[in-house]
Symmetry: C2
């Protein structure tokens, strides 16, 4: 076990560098010059590293490994206290003792994606050619690149085949990409609230976020690390925009409606009169404390470029032709970022490709965020899918 | 007729002040200290002025006047070449010879709302107390304030009763407010793609836009006029966000999909690879050339505060009780900013209040923007409504 390098702190507060103690005891897999990451953009990235957390034990025949793929602003801290925010793991509804992904049964791996900022190599990491942070000199990465790096990590862990790959949103994109890029290495896949391509509206919202970051003079064309600035205003605005898309109109109405904040009458000012305004401001300001602005640019770009069908002559079913992976696709009725119609497209393509697939469209008004929330029907479906996949793969006894 | 004062140019380019020639020959109604505008926030605004355009002639008994209310970033140039952009009027589909609002028949008035920047008094106007632009010292205005100012203009024009008030989006809010505030002065009302209150999601998008403007250091707490700066980046981001909400997911998909801009392969960069990115960037940058950033703050705030029911003990039907106005409410199925369900609520309240109301829910994938576009079914409905209202009010002969 190696302590993660403090690449993140450079990004967060230029003035608070080298607070290594703030950083987690994540394990780190380092890959040297002899093992470059071949990126879709044509660059060989080397050296690079992947930070990851594990929960549970790998069994003797290495057949019980589950890879959890995180979403855009997630990280490897899926089921432990977050080292920066002090908050519980981001997927405690699904991962933990007695949960569908139970460390008593499974060896659960969650790695920080390449391009992110929680210990894996990204734009805030040091560019070995200059000794300075990469900034915008970091090569553009894609969802397939993220998955390629994860595959190298899985190799390093000595695991040939994953029992399951699980993820929601950008994590769901990685999950689907795993089944396409490494069909023999994925016994089962649970893809939640995602799609095989980013829509025009999704790209539009991401472009809005990127422009907000880039509009902030403190962004300094991505060189804020060296200049001692941080584009906290621009990144805050980007996060506010994203947060609106994570909730449904109904959920915002239920949570906030037109209720005022600590008052009954309007102040006739630009103060945060409405609760929804305070909520958004808080989401924006708390996010910038834990995330690197350049990583936000790179990861949104990776999602925009994602289009599995495009790599298969425009025919999505071809990507899944004769797959042996067992699929479960989950969507939420009020998710307008990754609408349930996108999941249906995936299911149709899987059916056309001859895959075994179950599909659950869960009725909820909680929007895209539902995959991170305690939605009992979703948890039950995840449990049932892992149970049946476990039985099929001889991992768990029937009825256990 | 008085040439409009150059209050707008102060807002747009501090360095390009006094280009009066760029500004329209809008008529201006000036109200002095003896005729203050009583604002909901408690302030008496005086002096103030309203810039407006008219089309057609007022008939002898002054019974053929139609007031058109513009939307958030609209203005009085409803059916003439815009003096700043050089583009055609913003509602040529509805207003003009042979159109439903035909200047041959009607005297059509469109005034720039109070708080805006095309000649009516707003934050870019001169504060008489200081001799400098108001900036954020301008009082907060509301939709009822806009309507109160319009009523003073209508008085000035010697018109007692409007044959019709027409508007979409924020213009629809004003239309509904007219029927509530001055029920005897409005014979008919055509309210399009609007609601009687702003939803939590609507407020969230507006707050996002305001935060984007305020995050721009060139905004200078609203004092950019004197400081020779302009928050073009922040306002551009705000406009991009708004534009996403004006189009439906389907419309964005049809218009742009995942098509690349002038290329087939991705550049693996943050350039505008996708057409939808170029489109948004253009929308953002062209908007800042014609609109005052502080006006954007004030007008979005006015929409957020709008809630007709709140002023009637929370019972919307009470607002419309025993109204003599003839209503037509129009919504568009793919409008997610002012969803058709909001229009249904208005119609239910109108029915409960005993109003004569017709409701048209128009099937289109063009989103909120549909009210500004050439949607034949919508144009036909507007024509039919004005025809029947004209007959009922003895204004046009049956079948004419």
């Amino acid at each position: 076990m190696v302590k993660v390098q403090s690449v993140h702190s450079q990004a967060i507060h230029a003035e608070e560098r080298a607070h290594e103690a703030d950083h987690p005891s994540s394990q780190v897999a380092r890959f040297g010059a002899e093992q470059p990451l071949r990126l879709d953009c044509g660059v060989d990235l080397a050296p690079f590293q992947i930070a990851y957390q594990t929960y549970g034990e790998l069994n003797a025949d290495k057949s019980n490994a589950i890879l959890v793929c995180h979403a855009l602003t997630g990280d490897q801290h899926v089921a432990n206290i977050h080292p920066v925010t002090g908050k519980p793991g981001w997927w405690q509804t699904l991962v933990g003792p007695g949960k569908p992904l139970d460390p008593e049964r499974f060896f659960i791996i969650c790695s920080n994606v390449i391009g992110s900022c929680m210990g894996s190599t990204g734009p805030s990491s040091t560019n070995p050619a200059t000794g300075k942070p990469w900034g915008l000199d970091f090569p553009i990465i894609t969802i397939p690149d993220m998955v390629r790096a994860q595959a190298m990590l899985i190799d390093r862990l000595g695991i040939d085949r994953l029992f399951c790959v699980v993820g929601g949103s950008m994590g769901g994109m990685q999950t689907l990409q795993w089944t396409v890029a490494y069909p023999k290495r994925v016994a089962s896949a649970l893809a939640i609230a995602c799609s095989t391509r980013h829509s025009a509206q999704n790209i539009a919202f991401h472009e809005l976020g990127r422009q907000a970051v880039m509009a902030d003079p403190d962004w300094r064309h991505g060189r804020y690390y060296e200049e001692g600035t941080y584009p906290h205003r621009g990144l805050g605005v980007a996060r506010m925009a994203a947060h609106i898309t994570y909730l449904s109109d109904a959920a915002l109405h239920r949570k906030f409606g037109r209720r005022m904040q600590d008052r009954e009458l309007p102040t006739f000012s630009f103060d945060a009169d409405f609760q929804v305004e305070s909520y958004l401001r808080y989401q924006g300001s708390s996010f910038v404390e834990r995330f690197d602005a350049n990583s936000y640019l790179y990861l949104t770009r990776a999602m925009d470029y994602f289009d599995i069908a495009a790599d298969h002559n425009g025919v999505l079913a071809e990507a899944f032709r004769d797959t042996a992976t067992r699929f479960c696709v989950v969507s939420f009725t009020s998710d307008w970022l990754f609408p349930t119609s996108e999941s249906r497209n995936v299911v149709h393509a899987l059916n056309a490709g001859g895959a075994r697939v179950s599909f659950a469209e869960i009725e909820t008004d909680r929007g895209h965020d539902a995959f991170l929330l305690d939605v009992p029907e979703f948890v039950d479906i995840a449990r049932a899918f892992l149970q049946s996949a476990g039985v099929a793969h001889g991992l768990v006894a029937k009825g256990k």
